[in-house]
């Protein structure tokens, strides 16, 4: 049988791309994306293997634990398809090689995907969208929806086709500098914007009066805690609170618990008149 017959067509790849948009449909605590990965691979398995035994083994191979950032699952699916293709052509690739490649790629890809997607792309597009939405503009939700999904879909499609084309060469690419550079660049952008948001969009006001003075002209001036803090640096309390939350989250406090704790602080502070 010639290789050309077994090659995935653009249609097959598109089918796998559509499927990869349902990567987390059967998300479960036992094997996370296991079934999702198998679901992505089905068009390839059908194409490459014709006997029942081969197909059964291939399906089982891809029902193993898998987990990565969903937006960057494309390259792994692509490269795995390339390996299955080589295997079906008689190359000596055993189950272990395929599985260890998947496991070997999912970690580093999540290492790129999480800061890139959840740490940079989504917070930034969402914050931009929200800044328009707060004035009631429909442009806000549209901006968020379109820009986020354009990037995400492009990553899925190009990731998949690139992984399939590159095959095992992807391991070399993954180890290259380009990926670290991208992750680091995205992290810098994400962190910078987070710094902006902390001071711009957190509202804490401590209107406690420290002193009241009346100058010779009879103009009363009031000095509040907030006024002093703002003189030091606006947003100082927001920064302190964020750093405290980071510390507590690292100590394994649950986010929802912290949210309710801050609720408690808000109610208590309002009742005592020290927060407004």
């Amino acid at each position: 049988m010639s290789e050309a017959v077994k090659k995935l067509t653009k249609k097959d790849l598109f089918n796998m791309f559509v499927r990869s948009n349902f990567q987390q449909a059967s998300f479960n605590y036992e094997r996370i994306h296991a079934l999702g990965f198998c679901f992505d691979m089905i068009p390839a398995i059908k194409k490459f293997y014709k006997t029942d035994e081969e197909r059964r083994l291939a399906l089982k191979r891809h029902l193993a634990f898998f987990n990565t950032t969903p937006a960057v699952c494309g390259p792994v699916v692509g490269v795995t398809a390339a390996m299955e293709e080589a295997r079906s052509d008689g190359e000596a690739i055993d189950d272990g090689a395929i599985n260890s490649l998947k496991v070997g790629l999912m970690g580093p890809l999540a290492g790129v995907g999480d800061p890139l997607i959840w740490g940079t792309l989504r917070p930034i597009t969402a914050a931009l969208g929200a800044s328009f939405a707060l004035n009631g503009s429909i442009f806000g939700p549209l901006l968020f929806f379109i820009s986020f999904n354009l990037v995400r879909l492009a990553l899925k499609w190009y990731g998949l086709t690139y992984g399939y084309r590159a095959g095992m060469g992807i391991v070399k690419d993954m180890a290259s500098n380009a990926l670290t550079k991208l992750t680091e660049g995205a992290s810098i952008l994400g962190l910078f914007v987070m710094g902006v948001l902390v001071t711009k969009w957190t509202k804490i006001n401590v209107p406690v009066v420290i002193s009241q003075t009346t100058n010779q002209a009879g103009v009363k001036s009031t000095m509040t805690v907030q006024g002093i803090l703002d003189q030091l640096c606006p947003g100082l309390l927001a920064l302190g609170l964020t750093l405290l939350m980071m510390y507590l989250l690292k100590k394994k406090a649950s986010p929802i618990l912290l949210i309710f704790a801050l609720f408690g602080v808000g109610i208590l502070g309002y009742w005592l008149g020290i927060l407004k």
Binding site: S26, E184, G195, V198, L243, G266
Partner: protein, 268 residues
């Protein structure tokens, strides 16, 4: 306001989509900015939906599911709070007060749903044994129904049983000190989300860029878009000038030899 039957149906359908979106995390239909806007559209008050969506989006900015860790649930929170605010003619602050407890409840529900889907995973093992491709596809996609219903059923109940009077009655029964406190807390609860993002980035040595953004924005009154552009330029300059990226050739070969798997395969 009166809710028509077609609106109940549309809310149910959208709640299903948002529920599925909350586990898929692809198109972001579960995010407040999208979900509140759509509920607003269905109930004929898109303006309120958008503003509530923007407000909740900021609070939920850092709510994300990394690995198997679960964050508060934005799908249920957005939908229920948008319905109650619009139907009950409440202000946006009341929406925040409603959304947060619902987000906690939704988190419990989604953990429950993701445990149930272990059953689908096991059924898939058996389907693979029998070589039933159709069943595999079906099992994978039908697991979404669990997630759809965990949002759609509570949303349906709220839509059917709540009216302007009962919402007002419910919210009026909350003492003023609590609503005032929630209002205040709504201003700084965002810090939890920011902290989640910052911790996830896990690059301590890049934290100066966070403080740079903080200091610049504390004193400069630029738009968010221009700060984004500045951040992009800073990131670009840093990676351009970093000596780490100056000799790509040398590093690439070193990395290649540490991956023997790659070398084996490249021979063919």
């Amino acid at each position: 306001m009166e809710i028509h039957l077609y609106q109940v149906i549309l809310i149910f359908i959208f709640a299903c989509i948002a529920g599925m979106g909350s586990v898929l995390d692809e198109f972001q239909t579960h995010r407040p900015l999208i979900a509140c806007t759509i509920i607003g559209l269905i109930l004929g008050d898109i303006q309120t939906g958008i503003i509530l969506g923007g407000t909740l989006e900021l609070i939920a900015l850092g709510w994300m599911n990394i690995g198997a860790a679960q964050s508060p649930d934005s799908a249920l929170a957005s939908i229920i709070s948008a319905i109650l605010v619009i139907v009950g003619h409440q202000n946006i602050q009341a929406g925040i007060a409603i959304a947060l407890p619902v987000a906690a409840a939704g988190q419990v529900l989604t953990v429950f749903a993701r445990t149930i889907t272990v059953f689908f995973q096991h059924a898939a093992d058996r389907a693979a044994e029998k070589l039933n491709f159709k069943l595999l596809d079906f099992l994978h996609l039908s697991a979404l129904v669990v997630q759809a219903l965990r949002v759609a059923i509570p949303a349906l109940l709220v839509t059917v049983f709540m009216n302007a009077g009962s919402v007002q009655h419910l919210l009026n029964s909350i003492p003023a000190v609590v609503t005032g406190g929630l209002n205040v807390a709504g201003g700084f609860i965002v810090a939890v989300g920011y902290a989640m993002v910052l911790n996830m980035m896990g690059a301590k040595y890049l934290m100066p860029f966070f403080f740079l953004g903080f200091i610049l924005a504390s004193y400069l009154n630029f738009s968010l878009l221009s700060f984004g552009a500045i951040g992009l330029i800073v990131a670009f300059i840093y990676t351009q000038l970093n000596p780490k990226y100056q000799e790509p050739k040398q590093v690439a070969t070193a990395a290649g030899s540490s991956a023997p798997l790659a070398d084996d395969m490249l021979e063919d």
